[in-house]
Amino acid sequence: MKPRSLRVRLLLSAAIAIFLALAAAWMAMTVLFERHIEHRIEADLIRDGLQLAAALSVGADGTPALEHEPGDSRFFEPASGLYWQVSTLQGALNSRSLWDQHLPEPKNATSLQWKSRTVEGPFNQQVLLVERYIRPERAGADVLVQLAHEQKSLHEAREEFGEELALFLAILWFILSAAEWVQVELGLRPLRHVRNEVETLKRNPRERMAAAHVAEIEPLTLAINELADAREKDLSRARRRAADLAHGLKTPLAALSAQSRRAREAGATDAADGLDHAIAAATSAIEGELARSRAAAIRAAPSGDTTIALPLIESLVGVVEKTEFGARLVFEVNIPEELRLPVAGEDLLEIAGALIENAARYARRRVRITGQAVEGGVLLVEDDGPGIESEKVAEALMRGGRLDEAGPGHGLGLAIAHDLVDATRGAITLLRSELGGLKVTVAWRAPELVTRGQES
């Protein structure tokens, strides 16, 4: 089973690959080492052989004779591992180290060059043997010159070398694996950035991935951004569809209301009352559903947007001033120019619009709209109307409850505002204003400090 972690996969595969490469290197190097030593021994044997050849002569009886023996002390020590032997058909001479033993019969030996081979030699030793025919005198007989070196010490040297090399390569393996770990960490770091950014994206669908990414990651971030765009489009399409549905339902409702009027004119008052009642219920349901879907959309996708409040509130006041209620009123707008509220513009429009219209409907002369930069921001809407009795406050804020029985087609007033404020993580309170009427306070919590770029 493949491990799920990319890091583990990369590290495992790198460790195995490095191990295999180093193991191959170990084998190759020990073989090369052995061959190198063998060549050195062979060269030494040939040098000794040439000394033998220089001192070699053939007696009249055909037996070989030496003027002097090679000086290496190992030739004089029995079974030392280093041997020589010169032989003709008539007799042979050999080093004392051979004692009563003999070097093996020649095989493929020529007079042209030294031949080497590995054979079972004297004292049951594996030996490296070099041999050649030499003719000391031009008209004389050939003499077989043989030299041998046991191979046990060679094997021991190889094993020793192999062990030391293995230790060195193990350390090298460890170092290379550590380097690979660093490399993997560095390589995966952009992915971690991507993960953090995706987290932010999840919290706030309007965020996008930063453009500055390494070339290999960029296609991924671009794809994620495209996906986020598509998702946002879907979301706004869904909102538009909800609005379209409302549009589609409201116009037939208006037509139905025309029917009701005609029915009333024709004297069918009961039927008209029934129709009007049904139309009012349907309208209320549509407005409520639109408000709920808007609130749900905000909850599902908190924007993290902030909006400069003043121009937006002034626009709203401009609208309310045109209404029957608003035309008589003075609107005091006390909002600092730079005040930002932690709500998307269109949501702030709906919240403040509902509150200001509600205040305008009940106010006598004045509506006061105040903005304060306390925590996330505070919006106060006050009027000098009759206010709401404290025992009716809960009812007024109840979701989906219809407050504004007084005026048709004006939505659900405070309840709508309450739902939206709730969705934008704010709190709404109703108190008595010093102007005499209702004071609606909307307070938003300070935005979370841990956002991208502000991590401490």
């Binding site: 409302a246 409201k250 208006a254 209301s257 309208t283 401009g318 045109k322 269109e346 709906e350 509902a354």
Partner: protein, 221 residues
């Protein structure tokens, strides 16, 4: 009196037209944007009822074209899109009122009458006091050439002061003029109105004469 009803839903258009006829209007109907724009551009209407979701050209664009071409007749937007974003967009494009669907015919007729009365009462003239110019026909004002958006109440306040030839007017008298003699005077509301107007136009335009009242700067006195 002539009214233009722009509505793509035939039943609603007929119903509104019928009600307006009953209220003494001569009514034309347009069922799509291009026709509406053409009629509003060449005919003289006293009021228009405009739906926003229209075929060919949407209602908001029609309104903007009219206003761009100095067609100043009052327009009431009648739309199913009843959220504040739409209302603000409609009023800022030059509409005079906004009513959401479904609506009560009585309310629609009352509002249309209100619009027509306000527009008809205004003689086409301007009053200049210093750098302040009041257009009594469009109920709008400019100060030093800069257009200023005024509410009805604000306009009436300035209009009243402008007609006093530099006399300082007390808060009580202003309240009586603005709210009627029956209602008790409310000097707080007048003070708030002055604060708001000074913020909109500039601090120097309305002067306070302690013990006497308010007057417009540069108006004789």
């Amino acid at each position: 009196m002539r009214a233009l009803v722009i509505e793509d839903e035939a039943a609603v258009a007929q119903d509104v037209a019928q009600a307006l006829s009953g209220a003494g209007f001569v009514v034309d109907i347009a069922t799509e944007g291009e026709d509406a724009w053409y009629k509003g551009s060449v005919e003289d209407y006293d009021v228009a009822v405009l739906d926003l979701g229209l075929p060919r050209i949407d209602g908001l664009s029609v309104l903007k074209r009219w206003r761009g071409a100095q067609r100043t007749f009052p327009v009431l937007i009648l739309s199913a899109r009843n959220d504040w974003t739409e209302k603000v967009a409609g009023i800022e494009a030059g509409a005079d009122d906004y009513l959401g669907k479904p609506f009560e015919m009585g309310e629609l007729i009352a509002r249309i009458r209100g619009l027509v009365r306000r527009a008809a009462g205004r003689a086409s003239s301007t009053i200049e006091v210093g750098e302040l110019v009041l257009d009594t026909h469009r109920m709008s004002a400019t100060f030093a050439g800069r257009p200023i958006r005024l509410s009805q109440l604000e306009f009436r306040f300035l209009d009243y002061l402008a007609h006093q030839s530099g006399r300082a007017v007390s808060a009580g008298e202003l309240a009586e003029h603005l709210y009627g003699a029956d209602e008790p005077g409310d000097s707080n509301a007048i003070e708030a109105l002055v604060v708001r107007l000074r913020r909109k136009i500039g601090p120097q335009v309305i002067e306070t004469r302690r013990g006497f009242g308010y007057l417009l700067a540069g108006d004789g006195g």
